[in-house]
């Protein structure tokens, strides 16, 4: 009896143990599954980390947006480049506008000067206008207008500013700078203006008064106005153009005075004959 009871107790214990063991096994298996599931998730998370951790759609959206950003960046660079070119063009146009304005002003001044020069046939008036132009447009303080005497083949001052006309030397054609310029018909501008000391035989500027290739005289400048420190670019051209008009005006007024004188002589002669 007690043996049977012992057997029953043992079986019961074994069953209990078996149950515990089974539960332990089930629990272990469950743990293993859970472990496997977690490992899979870890793998997924790790894999996801490499791809930004986003879904395929999101990745596609990002890729599309990135592409758009790149396109916009390229467009921005193009626009910036265009702006730069437009600014450069604008700058060029502004410079060109200033140049055109300056040219326009110079032409207007030249037109007025030549209009004034040809507005009279009076020799003294022509000389006065030349003087005004040289002071007001060129900016000279001391200068003289010298005319060629065909008989003596020499240049003599007929008008001056800042110096006495009689103080200007009479220059033979070919002599010194003035004589040479009158002979060759070329313009002379001194190179070293800063160290110039007034020398009536050596001006800072000598411009021949030419009608075609025939020199009738020269304009010599010894000093510029205090505020005019150097020659402007336009001066070289302006001088020549003005000198051309001045020469024609002088020549015309001289011819007119001569014809007037002859007419007066003839008139006097006719009056003598008829009265």
């Amino acid at each position: 009896m007690s043996e049977t009871m012992d057997d029953k107790g043992t079986v019961k214990k074994a069953e209990e143990f078996l149950q515990v063991f089974k539960k332990g096994a089930e629990f272990t298996q469950e743990l293993l599954r859970e472990n496997e599931r977690l490992r899979y998730q870890i793998l997924q998370v790790e894999a996801g980390k490499g791809e930004g951790g986003l879904s395929g759609e999101a990745e596609e959206e990002i890729r599309r947006l990135r592409q758009r950003i790149e396109e916009l960046e390229a467009e921005k660079l193009k626009i910036l480049d265009r702006i730069k070119r437009v600014e450069e063009e604008n700058h060029d146009f502004a410079n060109r506008y200033v140049e055109v304005e300056t040219e326009n002003n110079n032409l207007a001044n030249l037109y007025i000067a030549s209009y004034q020069l040809h507005s009279t046939l009076d020799f003294k008036e022509v000389l006065q206008i030349i003087m005004e132009i040289v002071i007001n447009l060129i900016g000279a303080e001391e200068f003289a207008v010298m005319l060629l005497d065909d008989k003596s083949n020499s240049l003599q001052a007929v008008a001056s500013e800042g110096i006495e006309t009689q103080d200007v030397p009479i220059i033979s054609i070919g002599d010194g700078i003035i004589g040479q310029m009158a002979k060759t018909g070329e313009n002379y501008f001194i190179e070293d203006m800063e160290n110039y000391m007034r020398d009536l035989h050596h001006p800072i500027v000598c411009i021949p008064l030419k009608i075609k290739e025939h020199v009738i005289g020269v304009i010599v400048i010894y000093k510029l106005l205090v505020q005019k420190k150097r020659f402007a670019e336009v001066d070289y051209e302006l001088f020549t153009l003005l000198a051309g008009h001045a020469a024609t005006a002088i020549f015309s007024s001289k011819l007119y005075s001569e014809s007037e004188r002859k007419l007066s002589t003839i008139q006097g002669f006719l009056d003598l004959l008829t009265k």
């Binding site: 304005e101 007025i112 209009y115 007001n136 106005l225």
Partner: protein, 126 residues
């Protein structure tokens, strides 16, 4: 567009024409010319001007005398005066400005300076 009246007092016809030609580039200006200070004063007594340009060295009455007479006239006390002259020395400029000139431009004539001065003193844009 309102019209501003400008008086140009200058004895040299060439110089006067150069100034007038420069001023004509500004739209809406009516320009009157005077050959010296006395002629300028005569014209100032006949009509009202908004701006005066004057030379200094002139016969009969010089530009500085004209400036002082204009400044002593209550009707012209505040009218801007621009001097255009060959006198480039600092003391000449100071003297002219002390007498009441608003601007001092030296020769050789520069069209842009004349236009800029006129526009500035008449408060014209551009």
């Amino acid at each position: 567009m309102s019209t501003y009246k400008v008086l140009v007092v200058e004895d040299s016809p060439t110089m006067r024409q150069l100034i007038v030609f420069a001023l004509k580039r500004i739209r809406g200006l009516s320009i009157v010319e005077a050959s010296d200070g006395v002629d300028g004063l005569k014209k100032l007594s006949i009509e009202k001007f908004d701006l005066i340009f004057t030379d200094i060295n002139m016969p009969i009455m010089d530009g500085l005398k004209l400036v002082s007479l204009v400044r002593n006239d209550p009707g012209y006390k505040s009218v801007p005066i621009v001097i255009i002259t060959t006198e480039g020395a600092h003391e000449d400029r100071e003297r002219a400005l002390a007498l009441g000139a608003n601007e001092y431009i030296t020769k050789p004539i520069q069209t842009t300076k004349i236009i800029d001065s006129a526009k500035r003193l008449l408060n014209l844009a551009g």
